[in-house]
Point group: C2
Chain length 188, copies 2
């Protein structure tokens, strides 16, 4: 049951009464996608913030020449969207696409605001999640400043060993900011 997973996920940070979770649940809808499907298309409006129940997503930016750059991967229990476009109601600068078949729970910005207004705990929950995301981003930046391709790959292996099994190496290369050829030559 999808919603049970969300309840368990939230309760890792804050305890919930049953009626509180019922209130939370009422703000989400569930959606299913197939490998290759787009949840967000670059240039379009972003309707939802997504909670990944199962599957795997990539958040990526495509430049004019068509090259793809991967900003992040999202696995089970991760929250994902084009944050800027979602919160600021602007057009998406990135796209969100399935690497595997994926089940998500989605919430609109309107729903998000109502949820936070109606249940202060959830504003606290989202703040905690946002802080965690901010910390992770800072460490990734530090990895770019301090390390070369080999070291960045080792750090990725150490931090997200599960990911390497599920993601094509060409996409890992894009995430690390190197060409797929360079990544291929690192193992040596």
């Amino acid at each position: 049951m999808m919603h049970g997973q969300l309840k368990h996920h939230i309760e890792k940070l804050i305890p919930l009464a049953d009626d509180e979770f019922a209130f939370i649940r009422s703000h989400f809808i569930s959606q299913n996608f197939k490998k290759g499907d787009f949840l967000i298309q670059q240039g379009e409006n972003v309707l939802y913030l997504y909670y990944v129940v199962s599957g795997l997503l990539k958040l990526s930016y495509n430049d004019e020449s068509g090259k793809e750059y991967i900003v992040s991967f999202s696995m089970e229990d991760w929250w994902e969207s084009d944050i800027q476009a979602y919160y600021r109601r602007t057009k998406a600068t990135m796209s969100l696409q399935c690497i595997e078949d994926t089940d998500v729970l989605c919430i609109t910005l309107e729903g998000y605001k109502k949820l936070c207004a109606g249940l202060q705990k959830m504003e606290h929950f989202f703040l905690e999640k946002s802080i965690g995301g901010h910390i992770a981003s800072q460490q990734r930046i530090l990895s770019f400043i301090t390390s070369n391709a080999t070291e960045r790959y080792e750090q990725l292996l150490k931090r997200y060993p599960q990911l390497i099994q599920r993601v094509p190496k060409s996409l890992l290369a894009s995430y690390l900011g190197v060409s797929r050829e360079t990544l291929s030559r690192l193992s040596s």
Copy 2:
């Protein structure tokens, strides 16, 4: 008056009644630092989240060999700390040091929690700030993935033109993840 600046800063996002701001203000203390002083020392506890009233700070990481890597600069109206160490009560992995004489307002984690608990608006404010920080971090990551040193420098010039006037180029180079020699050769 320092506190008037903080009030104005918060009111850019949320309106405040006078008694509400008095409540907010009571959670902060003010501190003054000279150029070169440390607000946070790598390896020590992080007591405060800082709001920069005036001056300029650098948040940086020093590796074993003593090389310095700059994670971010903080100017007027910016919030800064070793976020991970502050929120998770761990030892600082980075240091925070003055590039110029700097006045700040500080709040302890205990004070922060009391403030958010006592005034829901402030939890909302910090969530907005955190989202903004997260967006900025993502764009910096994207800059590392998609761009070479020249392009990253141009993006920095465009985004924070004020900064270039106030920060030594050797520090800008560290922020961009290139050697100072390479940065020096880019203008050509």
